[in-house]
């Protein structure tokens, strides 16, 4: 499914969600005697960008892994569109429209852009109704359309992604996710390995996509990025959610204070 099909023309200014896309309710996780998450509840609404901040060991990565199906949780429940769902494998998450962008981006370096975008779901046809073949031209065309739709500009789609910059690779990885029926993209430190310019491009892309019905849940250490891009900011400390604040209602200082002291 292309993005156009997922997101028909909508009034993007109407960011007034009724029902959360994803709800975590009292999520708990124990590693032996260590309580990594002590009952965290958080909602993510359609079209919004939620940033997750907190000190090392606050439980951010554990929480994200649970939402993406990479780890199981010991208590609490996860709801998608108000319905309780099982989220025990990455495939479960995928079926619910939740995709995770891993730090290595999940790209095949020696493949070009269409080959990466269509990895694992190549388009095939049958020559004379019998001989199967790959529809290379169609895949190239759809990739170009998808990138155009997302306003992503790449120098040459036929080049292996190993020759591309970090930001361009990130764009390819994101468009790969959007070829499927994805509504929420989870990212763990997406800008960590990027230069300033490249990071800015990825921020722009996230902002554009959030206006096209894609929600983002992003772990970041970079307070400047967080304050640029997030609609809401969730703060973790010692396995607890200390608070969720709207960006326009807060300041960097307040967030920092929440991270350090666990309160405002």
């Amino acid at each position: 499914m292309t993005l156009a099909q997922i997101a028909p023309t909508t009034n993007v200014t109407a960011k007034l969600p009724h029902q959360p896309l994803l709800s975590a309710r009292g999520i708990e996780k124990n590693y032996g005697g260590n309580r990594a998450l002590k009952g965290v509840s958080l909602d993510i609404f359609p079209n919004e960008v939620v940033a997750l901040v907190g000190d090392n060991g606050a439980g951010k990565s554990t929480f994200v892994k649970i939402l993406s199906g990479a780890e199981t949780h010991d208590g609490g429940s996860i709801l998608v569109d108000g319905q309780k769902v099982q989220m025990s494998t990455p495939n479960d998450a995928h079926e619910n429209g939740i995709a995770t962008l891993y730090q290595d981006l999940g790209l095949v370096d020696c493949f070009n852009v269409p080959q990466n975008v269509f990895l694992g779901r190549e388009l095939t046809g049958r020559l004379g109704g019998a001989i199967p073949f790959l529809r290379h031209t169609e895949m190239r065309r759809r990739t170009a359309d998808l990138l155009k739709e997302l306003d992503i500009r790449l120098p040459d789609l036929a080049r292996p992604v190993s020759t591309m910059s970090g930001g361009q690779r990130q764009a390819v990885a994101i468009s790969r996710l959007l070829l499927g029926d994805v509504r929420l993209i989870i990212m763990d430190e997406p800008m960590a390995a990027l230069g300033v310019d490249e990071g800015q491009k990825v921020l722009d892309l996230i902002a554009r996509l959030s206006r096209k019905h894609i929600s983002f849940f992003i772990i970041s250490h970079n307070m400047e990025h967080v304050m640029t891009i997030a609609d809401r900011i969730a703060v973790f400390k010692n396995g607890n959610l200390v608070g969720v604040v709207r960006r326009e209602d807060t300041t960097r200082e307040e967030i920092t204070s929440m991270i350090v002291h666990g309160r405002t």
Binding site: N91, G106, C110, F111, P132, F133, L134, P155, R159
Partner: protein, 353 residues
């Protein structure tokens, strides 16, 4: 697949001397195709001068016919290399398949004395291909399921297959092939083309189609390119890894049947040079040892080059011991030059954005 297009520069060299422009063209050819076109042309020119008989029709015909076996085995080896593995057991698989094919043929003929030779041949080919499939299946399971490194797994298989071949044959050649077997797989010709050449063309066409136009081909390249990403994309990587090794050994088994027909006996010592030669053909043909990169057309040319090298050295009466030295030097040189090429390519791309 590696993209071999070189960014075309607005040509500022139009008024440069001819040698500078030639250098530029050679430089681009090198970046796009590696060392192969150079050594191939150099080998043909050198051999043509050193031994005029080399360019005779008879010798070239012979060369084309002789190269078919190495080409087929190299296509099998290429599949293993593409999935970031290697098949050290190609040579001993050839020996084992040769013995099982020959034993099945002679066994069938003995068990059913009145049977037409066609039946024995079908039994032999089936036994040979099945032997290949089993070898590939064991290699694949060891590598993909039990996580044994491809090198260790296939070195182990090399020893096992040789041992089984020698045990089955008692160390003696298996004689008594029907004449038709040699005809069908070696001696007959169609419109002047010997049948081994036709089989080889068929393998190349099927291989090209599979690698470039089927989902299976994409899987083979992506397994070698990034196994984890392929798994995360929802692909059953274990299945495709095992399947690749089965295909590899089945292709090798087919080459082994052609070779058996050529020597007209089942030989447990057949194919001893094929391991080294097939790896050299693949590497000179630009197949990456790190998986995911390589073209069947270049493997074909690589195998032709290795055959020219050995054929040429035979014509020049260079001892086989020395030939081994030369082959080894070429293999190492090909890897070294390829690394230089990759570095130049990266530099070029940074410069041109």
């Amino acid at each position: 697949m590696v993209n071999t297009e070189i960014n075309s520069h607005a040509d500022p060299s139009a008024n440069r001397p001819i040698w500078a422009r030639t250098m530029r063209v050679l430089h681009d050819v090198f970046l796009a195709n590696g060392i192969l076109p150079f050594v191939l042309v150099a080998a043909i020119i050198f051999m043509g001068i050193a031994e005029p008989r080399f360019l005779s029709y008879d010798n070239l015909f012979n060369l084309g016919r002789h190269s078919t076996y190495l080409i087929i085995i190299s296509v099998g080896q290429m599949l293993a290399l593409l999935v970031r593995g290697i098949d050290m057991s190609v040579g001993s698989t050839v020996a084992l398949v040769s013995v099982t094919t020959a034993l099945a043929i002679t066994g069938t003929a003995q068990a059913i004395p009145d049977a037409p030779p066609g039946l024995a041949i079908v039994a032999g080919v089936a036994a040979g291909m099945l032997t290949g499939a089993v070898v590939g299946l064991i290699n694949g399971i060891g590598i993909a399921v039990l996580s044994v490194s491809p090198f260790i797994m296939t070195v182990g298989m090399m020893s096992i297959a040789t041992g089984v071949a020698l045990t089955l044959s008692g160390g003696m050649p298996v004689y008594g092939m029907p004449r038709e077997f040699g005809q069908i797989f070696s001696n007959a010709s169609l419109h002047g083309l010997p049948v081994p050449v036709l089989y080889c063309i068929a393998v190349l066409i099927l291989g090209y189609y599979m690698l470039n136009w089927t989902v299976l081909g994409r899987r083979i390249y992506s397994l070698g390119g990034n196994l984890n990403a392929t798994r995360l994309a929802g692909v059953n990587t274990t299945f495709f890894m095992v399947l690749t090794y089965v295909l590899c050994s089945v292709i090798v088994a087919f080459g082994a049947i052609l070779l058996t027909a050529r020597v007209n006996t089942g030989e447990a010592t057949l194919g001893t040079t094929l391991l080294m030669e097939s790896i050299t053909a693949c590497v000179i043909g630009g197949v990456s040892f790190f998986g995911g990169i390589g073209r069947i057309s270049n493997v074909f040319l690589g195998a032709i080059f290795v055959t020219i090298l050995t054929n040429g050295m035979n014509l020049l009466r260079i001892e086989s011991y020395v030939q081994q030295i030369v082959l080894g030097v070429f293999l190492i040189a090909a890897v070294v030059v390829d690394q230089i090429r990759v570095r130049m390519l990266r530099q070029e791309r940074i410069e041109t954005g």
